[in-house]
C-alpha cells in the first residue's frame, strides 16, 4: 500500500505530480498552436516583413520557423515521455497487485450503502444454490460465507480492464519511440524522373544531399486523367525497378498507392512539363502570305527564305512573364534579319500565336510541339512505422477497454426476515456508477424471476 513506500527523491515526486503533467500538456498545446499561426519553413525575408526586426530575430533564436523540430519542442515531448514512463512505473505495483491479488475484502463493500434492497418469499437456504449459480455465470466468485441467518456471496469481474490505463500510456511511448527510430534510420527524399527516363539517385530533404539508391527507377510513362469538369482525376506514373539490367518490379503508382521496394516507398507527389524537344515552327512573311513550316529543336537555326536572315531557338523558359502577366512555359528564339538588330522572339506554349502582337515583318508561331512530363516522386523509408502502428493498435485497444469495461465488485447479502429473505446488493466499479446501477437493476429483475 501507498504508506509503505520509501520516500522518493524530489525529481521523482515532481514527475509523478498531476500538476506537472497538466503543465506539460498545456505547454505542448499552446506551443503547437503557435506553430500553426507562425508560418513554418518560410524565408527570413518573409518573417522580417510580418514580424519586424525584433520579432524575426526572436523567431531565429527560438527556431520558431521550424518549431516542431526545435530543441525546446523536442525537449517538451521528451519530458512528457519521461513523465508518462515514471507515472506508469510508480503506479504499476499497485495496479498489478489489484489485478493478480486473490484477496477480496468484503468489509470495503459492506461499508458503503447498498445499491439495492429487495425481498424474496423463499428462505435463504432455498436461494443459495440458485443465486450462487446465477452469480457464477456473471462474476468470478471470490467467496460464499454462511452467516447465522443467511449467507453472503461475492465476486468480481473485469480485473484486467485495469490494464487499459497503463497500456494507453505505454503505447504513447511506443509511438514516440517509433518516430525516433524513423528519424534516425529512415530517410525522406525526392526525385524527378522524365517520362522514358530513369534515376538511381535521390535528393534528401533535410540535408539536401544526394543519396544512391543502389538500383534504377524508370518512369515508363506519366499520365493525368481529368474529370469532365476539368478537375484532375488521377496522376499516374508507370514505374519499373531495374537492378543490374534485370527488371525486378513494375507498378503503376497513383496518389494513395505507392510502389514499395526494399523497404523504400515511392509516392506520386508532383509532376511538371519537360521542355519540348521537337517543335514545329511556322514562319509567315508579310510580303508573301504563304507560311513555311519548319521542324526544329532547341539550339537549332534555320535560314529564312531568300537569305533574308535566320532564326534560332535559344532556350526554354519555364515561367515567362510579359509585363507582369504570367504566360507560363515558353520557347524563346532569336530572329536575325539582314541589316537589322537581332530580336528576341517568345513563343508561349499556351499562346502559340503570341508573336503576331509584335506586328513585325516576319511572324513566327508555334504550330506543334511534343508534350512530355516528368513525374515528381517522394522517396521514403521509415523503419519506425511498424512500432508506431503497433502503438496505434494498443492505444485504441486501451481506450476501448477504459471506455467499455470496468473492474466491478459485487456482494449479495441474503438474510432471513420473517419466513422470507432480505436481499441487499453492495458493489463498486472503476467506471460509471450510472451504468453500474442500471446493471444491478437488471440483475435484480432477473433474480426476482429465478
Amino acid at each position: 500500500m501507498n504508506e509503505q513506500k520509501p520516500s522518493k527523491n524530489p525529481v521523482w515526486q515532481l514527475f509523478i505530480s498531476v500538476k506537472f503533467t497538466v503543465t506539460v500538456l498545456i505547454l505542448l498545446a499552446m506551443t503547437s498552436a503557435a506553430g500553426t499561426i507562425i508560418p513554418q519553413n518560410g524565408d527570413s525575408q518573409q518573417y522580417l516583413q510580418i514580424y519586424g526586426s525584433f520579432g524575426s530575430s526572436l523567431i531565429q533564436v527560438f527556431d520558431l520557423f521550424d518549431m516542431y523540430h526545435s530543441w525546446w519542442f523536442r525537449s517538451l515531448i521528451g519530458i512528457l515521455t519521461i513523465n508518462i514512463i515514471i507515472c506508469t512505473i510508480d503506479r504499476w505495483p499497485a495496479t498489478w497487485r489489484t489485478i493478480t491479488s486473490q484477496k477480496f475484502k468484503p468489509e470495503q463493500l459492506l461499508a458503503k450503502k447498498p445499491y439495492k434492497e429487495f425481498k424474496d418469499e423463499r428462505i435463504p437456504a432455498d436461494l443459495k444454490p440458485v443465486y450462487t449459480s446465477f452469480i457464477k455465470r456473471r462474476y468470478k466468485i471470490k467467496g460464499v460465507h454462511t452467516l447465522q441467518n443467511g449467507f453472503r456471496i461475492y465476486g468480481d469481474k473485469g480485473r484486467w480492464s485495469r490494464l487499459g490505463v497503463p497500456v494507453v500510456h505505454m503505447s504513447i511511448v511506443l509511438i514516440l519511440v517509433g518516430a525516433l527510430v524513423g528519424s534516425f534510420f529512415g530517410f525522406d527524399g525526392y526525385v524527378n524522373i522524365p517520362e522514358g527516363g530513369s534515376a538511381d539517385r535521390i535528393r534528401l530533404r533535410n540535408s539536401n544531399q544526394i543519396m544512391d539508391l543502389g538500383f534504377k527507377v524508370v518512369c515508363k510513362d506519366f499520365n493525368i486523367e481529368y474529370y469532365e469538369s476539368g478537375a484532375v482525376k488521377e496522376y499516374r506514373s508507370a514505374l519499373q525497378i531495374i537492378k543490374n539490367d534485370k527488371l525486378l518490379l513494375e507498378k503503376n503508382i497513383i496518389v494513395n498507392n505507392p510502389l514499395k521496394f526494399n523497404g523504400i516507398r515511392f509516392f506520386q507527389s508532383s509532376y511538371g512539363a519537360l521542355p519540348p524537344e521537337n517543335l514545329e515552327i511556322k514562319i509567315t512573311s508579310s510580303d508573301s502570305k504563304d507560311p513555311i513550316k519548319y521542324k526544329m529543336k532547341i539550339g537549332e537555326t534555320i535560314l529564312l527564305p531568300d537569305n533574308k536572315g535566320k532564326f534560332t531557338i535559344t532556350r526554354f523558359n519555364k515561367d515567362y512573364h510579359f509585363k507582369d502577366v504570367e504566360l507560363g512555359q515558353a520557347i524563346e528564339g532569336e530572329l536575325n534579319l539582314v541589316d537589322k538588330d537581332s530580336m528576341t522572339i517568345v513563343l508561349p506554349l499556351r499562346f502559340p500565336t503570341f508573336d503576331k502582337m509584335r506586328k513585325g515583318q516576319w511572324i513566327i508561331s508555334l504550330e506543334n510541339h511534343d508534350n512530355k512530363f516528368y513525374t515528381g516522386l517522394q522517396v521514403r523509408r521509415d523503419p519506425g512505422v511498424m512500432l508506431v502502428y503497433l502503438g496505434f493498435i494498443l492505444i485504441l485497444g486501451g481506450c476501448w477497454v477504459i471506455f467499455f469495461s470496468s473492474h466491478q465488485k459485487i456482494l449479495l447479502e441474503i438474510t432471513a426476515s420473517a419466513e422470507m429473505s432480505q436481499i441487499r446488493i453492495f458493489g463498486s466499479t472503476t467506471r460509471s456508477k450510472l451504468d453500474f446501477k442500471q446493471h444491478i437493476e437488471k440483475m435484480v429483475s432477473s433474480l426476482k424471476l429465478l
Partner: protein, 278 residues
C-alpha cells in the same frame, strides 16, 4: 426529388425537434417530449435518406463516392451523428432535457450546411488525394468524436446553468438531471469522444502514410486535432487524478469544443493539406 432538397427539409425537422425538446423542458410537458423524440427520429431517418440519395446521385454523375468529401457533406453527417448519439443516450438514460441542448446543435450544423451561401452543395468529383478507402473510416471516426464532444459541451452548458443558480432547484433548472448524473454523462461523452478522436487521428495518420509516406507532418489540421486531444487528455487527468467534477469539468468541455470547432472550421483559414474542407 434530390438530396439537397431532402437535406434542407431535414433542417426544419431538426429545428422542430429542438423546439419540442425545449418546450418539453420549459413547460414540463410530457406530450411535447414524446413528440420531440419522434420528430428527432424522423429527422434522423430523413437525414440518412438524404445522404444515401446523395451517394446514389454521385454515382449517377459518374463520379461515385461516399458523401463525406467536402464541408457541406461533413456538416450534414455531423448533424446526423449528433442526433444519433443523442438518441442512444436518451434511450439508455432517458433524460430528455439533454435533448433541449443537443438537438439545436444538430439543427445548427444542418442549417449552416443548407443555408450558408459560402458552402457549395454541388457534388464534386474526388481529388486524387481523397481517393482512398481511408476516407470513410477517417471521416466517420472523426465525426463520431466531434459529435460526442458536442454533446459533452451541451451537457456542460447544463451543468454550468445549474451551478450558477443559488436558489435551490427553482423552475426549469429543477427539471435538469441531478448534478452528479449530468457530471457522469458529460464525462461519458468526453471519454467516448476521446476514443473516437484518437481513432480519427490514427486513421488520418495511417492514410497520410499511405498517401504521402508520412504519418505525421504537423499540417495545421493534424496539429489542431492533437491540440484538441491534449485539451481532453488534460480534462481526463484532472478528473481522474484530482477529482475535478461538475462546473470545472464543464468549463473544460467548452474549451475542448472550441478546439474541436477550430480544428473543424478555423484551420481552413490556415494553409495546409486539408484546405479542401473549405
Amino acid at each position: 426529388m434530390n438530396s439537397s432538397l431532402i437535406l434542407s427539409v431535414t433542417t426544419f425537422v431538426y429545428g422542430a425537434a429542438g423546439f419540442f425538446y425545449i418546450a418539453a423542458w420549459i413547460f414540463n410537458a410530457k406530450p411535447a417530449g414524446k413528440a420531440a423524440t419522434w420528430t428527432l427520429i424522423l429527422g434522423v431517418s430523413i437525414n440518412t435518406i438524404g445522404l444515401l440519395f446523395r451517394w446514389k446521385e454521385s454515382y449517377d454523375l459518374g463520379i461515385g463516392h461516399a458523401p463525406l468529401s467536402n464541408l457541406y457533406e461533413s456538416l450534414v453527417f455531423f448533424a446526423l451523428v449528433i442526433a444519433v448519439v443523442y438518441l442512444v443516450l436518451e434511450k439508455k438514460y432517458s433524460f430528455k432535457t439533454i435533448g433541449a441542448f443537443a438537438t439545436p446543435l444538430a439543427f445548427f450544423s444542418m442549417a449552416y450546411a443548407s443555408f450558408s451561401p459560402k458552402i457549395g452543395e454541388t457534388i464534386q468529383p474526388l481529388m486524387p488525394a481523397l481517393k482512398s478507402n481511408w476516407l470513410i473510416a477517417h471521416v466517420i471516426t472523426c465525426f463520431i468524436g466531434y459529435a460526442a464532444f458536442a454533446l459533452a459541451f451541451g451537457i456542460g452548458l447544463m451543468v454550468m446553468m445549474s451551478s450558477s443558480s443559488n436558489d435551490a432547484k427553482a423552475g426549469i433548472l429543477s427539471r435538469l438531471p441531478d448534478k452528479s448524473v449530468m457530471d457522469e454523462l458529460m464525462h461519458k461523452m468526453v471519454m467516448f469522444g476521446f476514443l473516437f478522436l484518437t481513432g480519427g487521428i490514427i486513421t488520418g495518420a495511417v492514410w497520410a502514410n499511405s498517401a504521402w509516406g508520412r504519418y505525421w507532418g504537423w499540417d495545421p489540421k493534424e496539429t489542431w486535432s492533437l491540440i484538441t486531444w491534449f485539451v481532453y487528455a488534460t480534462l481526463l487527468h484532472v478528473r481522474f487524478m484530482r477529482g475535478w467534477r461538475g462546473k470545472r469539468i464543464a468549463i473544460f468541455t467548452v474549451i475542448g469544443f472550441a478546439a474541436v470547432l477550430f480544428t473543424y472550421f478555423g484551420v481552413n483559414y490556415l494553409p495546409g493539406l486539408h484546405s479542401y474542407g473549405s
